[in-house]
Every structure is written in structure tokens, then in C-alpha cells.
Amino acid sequence: MFRPLAIAAAVLTIASAAYAAPAPTDPQIAHIAYTAGVIDIAAANQALGKSHNADVIAFAQEMVRDHTAVNNQALALVKKLGVTPEANPTSASLTVQADAKRAELAKLNGAAFDRAYVQNEVAYHKLVNGALKDTLIPSAHNPELKSLLSTGLTLFTEHQMHAEHLAAELH
């Protein structure tokens, strides 16, 4: 029950940024997107430290590589635009929930950890993709930020698909 509740809470948290006035600003959007990447890199690093499954390790390495690339691009963009990413309740809530999930996963080992990690990757990417599509991209004003977020959505959709394939193999 914990997982569906946590995901529902996260969805509500991000959705509220869209439906409660005011809409997130570009500095807030940049912070949320960057935080989302940092969270997935931390999850991948946990997997790299615990898993012995070659496919899970390859997936986690891909998450580190791709999210690091996007976040580096995001840092370069905000620097170019002279924008300072702004901490906000949405990114804080995402971090709190991700910390709780990592603590939960830390108690698992072997195949149980692999399955739980990959299932969470499916749910997490679904959550972030929904937020990007419905809230963050429509709210972004700067065209370059909007473009980077759109590339992020394409990339994370690929990650979700990859995680779904992996989850089916591990089931």
C-alpha cells in the first residue's frame, strides 16, 4: 500500500503546481526537473551498489549516464540564461519521498531488490513524464527550457519503456 500511496501523493504534489495558482515559474521548473534527475541518479547508484543482475546494472548505468547528461545541459542552460533554479515545495516533496523509497529499498537484497528497484523506476518515470507533459512543459516560458524539457520527456519515455521491459523479464 505504501507504494501506491506514495505515488499518488507525488502525483498530487506535482499536479498542484499546475492547478493551484500561480503556475510554477521557469526557475522553479528548472529546479524540479533537475531534482527529478538527481533523484533517479541516486536510485541508480543504490542499485549499482546492491544488484548483481547484469541487466539491472546496465539499466542503472544508463540512468546515471542519461540523467547526468540532461542535468549538465540544464546547468549550462540556466547559466546561459542567467537563471537561478529556485527551491520550491514540489522539489522538496519529491526529495523527501525519494529518500523514503531508498530507505525502503535498502532493506531488500538480491532478486527482491532488483524487482522493487525496477518497479519503482517504472512508476517514477511514469510520474515524472506525466508532470513534464501536463505541468512543466506547458508552464515553461523560455523556449530553450521548453525544448530541453521536451527532450527530457522523450528520453524519460524511453527509460520508462526500458524499465517496463526489464520489469517483465524480472517478474
Partner: protein
């Protein structure tokens, strides 16, 4: 040379020249080409309109992400680092389907003619 002999020789020369004209010069051997497929925004660019056996396909990865060009049937498995490129020379005709082993929605296809 008698008139008759001259006529036979002239006919032979005419026939020979007519034969050469019909055959024409021998066809020049086709020069293999390098055909580029640009990889950008997690998509393989359009495949070459015509690719022949002996041509080389070059994938240029313009993305900031690592990709691969991996043949479904195992003919090649090329790593495409961010900003990098890789090549494969077509060895036989047919349809080659390929994908990115990291990003399963990235699919490509090349039709190779003799």
C-alpha cells in the same frame, strides 16, 4: 585485291563496327558510397533512399546521450557515444532492421540492393 575480296572485307568491317556500337563501352564499376544517418533527439534520421552492397553506412550521433545501432539479426552492434560516430559496410542485399539497445523506442531500417 579483287573486287570480290574487297567487298567481303568491307562487309566484315561494317559488321564488326555495328557489333561494337550495339554493345557500347563496358559499364564502369560502381564506386561505393558512404551514406550518413544522423541520430538526433532520440531518433535515427531518414534512411538512405538507395543503399547498395559495398556502400558504408555512417551513423553520426548528434545527441548528448550514448546510443547504439544494433541489428535485430545480429549483423552489427555499434556503440554511438554522445557526439560520436560509427560505420558498417553493407555486405549483402536485403532489409536490415536495427535498434538502440539503450532506448528501445529507437528503431531504424535500411533496404540494401545489389
Amino acid at each position: 585485291m579483287t573486287t570480290r575480296r574487297f567487298a567481303v572485307l568491307a562487309l566484315a568491317l561494317l559488321a564488326a563496327s555495328a557489333g561494337l556500337a550495339a554493345c557500347g563501352p563496358p559499364p564502369a564499376a560502381r564506386t561505393p558510397q558512404t551514406l550518413v544517418i544522423v541520430v538526433d533527439k532520440l531518433l535515427y534520421g531518414p534512411p538512405p533512399i538507395v543503399a547498395h552492397v559495398g556502400d558504408t553506412i555512417e551513423w553520426d550521433n548528434h545527441d548528448i546521450f550514448e546510443h547504439s545501432a544494433t541489428a535485430d539479426e545480429g549483423a552489427f552492434d555499434l556503440d554511438l557515444p554522445a557526439g560520436g560516430k560509427a560505420t558498417f559496410t553493407l555486405k549483402q542485399s536485403g532489409v536490415i532492421r536495427y535498434h538502440c539497445k539503450f532506448h528501445p523506442g529507437m528503431l531504424g531500417q535500411i533496404t540494401v540492393t545489389p
